[in-house]
Symmetry: none
Subunit: 253 residues, 2 copies
DNA sequence: TTGATGGGGTTGTATAGACTTACCTAGAGT
DNA sequence: ACTCTAGGTAAGTCTATACAACCCCATCAA
């Protein structure tokens, strides 16, 4: 069949795309596929037409279809198995976390509603351990704040911070109902250096109460120190219920 | 039928490589090129032989050479310009691969003595959840291993891995008393992409026993997936007692 | 001197066809 | 129930060929 069409420049399903863009055929095939995946016509886990079927549908050679599919696999859009077929892959490319992010953005990115409550805002004098974290001597003055962050009225994080007054002299005067410590500090200066340490802890009774936990559920604890101009300016302890949060990141090597 | 010596229809520069490994031709071409770049024979910025020259030298078709070069460009090894040529690209952007560390190195770096014990080594079929993690369909065959890592005879980590047989067909035959899964897998190929997710969990009774915990102590759980050539090749679940381990990192911004 | 033209080399894309390899299933034989 | 085998399907690879797009440079003309 169709042996008489050698001379035609191939008028196919793709032809309208060709008119819109002089993109190469294999890119058009990729677009054809990703569009159907994005629209939900081909759901996650469902099987795509085989290479040969796409050849017939789109009127291109199998090598072209193959290249499109191979590149889509490299991009993580589909997965392929020899002898089986091609399938729609990942539902949601995971966002980069463990960077320096505002939890309010984090919650809103996930579709949740964020609010926070200030529990404490005071000046303290550092004991030995805390002073060490700041590379200072015991007794040095530090600002201390404790907030709770809620996602849809469920506590998601206890945010406890110690801030160097030298860096943020007006820290105690801020209205952290409208802005947040993260934003305020970041606005003064983005840190030049950041240290993260992550622990698993069993929460104290006080933390359990703040997070409204029923029992001694395992919690993630992230301790962050930030430097500006070689000096520690902030030490934050962020506590999350293990059942409600996780840290993640994905990157190429 | 398995005709045993179908490997050498062509006697070329590549033939010895062919004998050593039944890798595909375009991979052999990639290897041929990367080896010369690594050895310094082709220095940074220097021009590679043209596709047609490589065709003559290596005795493969131009499409095969082209695929090899295209993939090397995708990996950032070379740069290409239409009408100009192909050039050696990166000096050594090998930086910070070391978030992917061997726990044995980790323990020994801290002055501890490391030993490990193999608990399980088997083939399984993936259920729905696991198959999804591999972007595969339920029922796909996977290798499954469980090891315990000790620091000075104290359990520090439960290492549970699921490995794609396609990537590491000989996984079950390894002696993980002498080498470790991490090293073995890394040696086959360093991953092109890595995903980390960190949880806090309360361990099951079985995990408590393996870690020799007295009670339901909070544990850190690191779930790692690694990709090679766009495919998930490994999913690892690493469980640490919260009192004995933490994750950390420090970097400039 | 400046600008246009064109040829040769190089990568980019596309095709048809063949063969290989891997997976799955159904059926036959324990 | 279990294992083995054969056949079908689909992706993986490789080849030979063709043309397109692009860059560089030499040549030639204004």
């Amino acid at each position: 069949m169709a042996s008489d069409t050698d001379t035609l420049p191939r008028r196919t399903v793709l032809s309208d795309l060709t008119a819109a863009r002089p993109a190469s055929r294999y890119e058009q095939v990729k677009h054809y596929i990703t569009e159907r995946i994005a629209s939900g016509e081909w759901g996650v886990g469902s099987r795509l037409p085989s290479e040969n079927e796409l050849v017939e549908t789109l009127g291109v050679s199998r090598m072209t279809v193959h290249r499109a599919l191979r590149e889509l696999m490299g991009e993580g859009i589909v997965t392929r198995a020899q002898g089986v077929g091609t399938f729609v892959a990942r539902p949601a490319p995971r966002a980069e976390v463990l960077e320096l992010r505002d939890i309010a953005d984090d919650i809103q990115a996930g579709g949740g509603r964020h609010r926070s409550r200030v529990v404490l805002l005071e000046t303290i004098r550092a004991d030995g351990h805390l002073a060490l974290a700041f590379d200072q001597r015991p007794g040095v003055k530090l600002f201390h704040s404790v907030l709770i962050h809620y996602e849809d009225d469920t506590p998601l994080q206890i945010e406890e911070r110690f801030v160097s007054p030298h860096f943020a002299p007006d820290y105690l005067d801020q209205d952290f109902a409208t802005t947040h410590p993260h934003r305020y500090l970041f606005q003064i200066s983005p840190p030049h250096e950041v240290e993260h340490v992550i622990f698993a802890v069993t929460p104290e009774a006080e933390q359990q109460a703040l997070l409204e936990l029923d029992g001694p559920e395992a919690c993630l604890q992230l301790v962050r120190r930030t430097w500006v101009e070689g000096r520690v300016v902030m030490r934050g302890v962020f506590t999350y219920p293990g059942s409600r949060y996780s840290f993640g990141g994905r990157r190429q090597t």
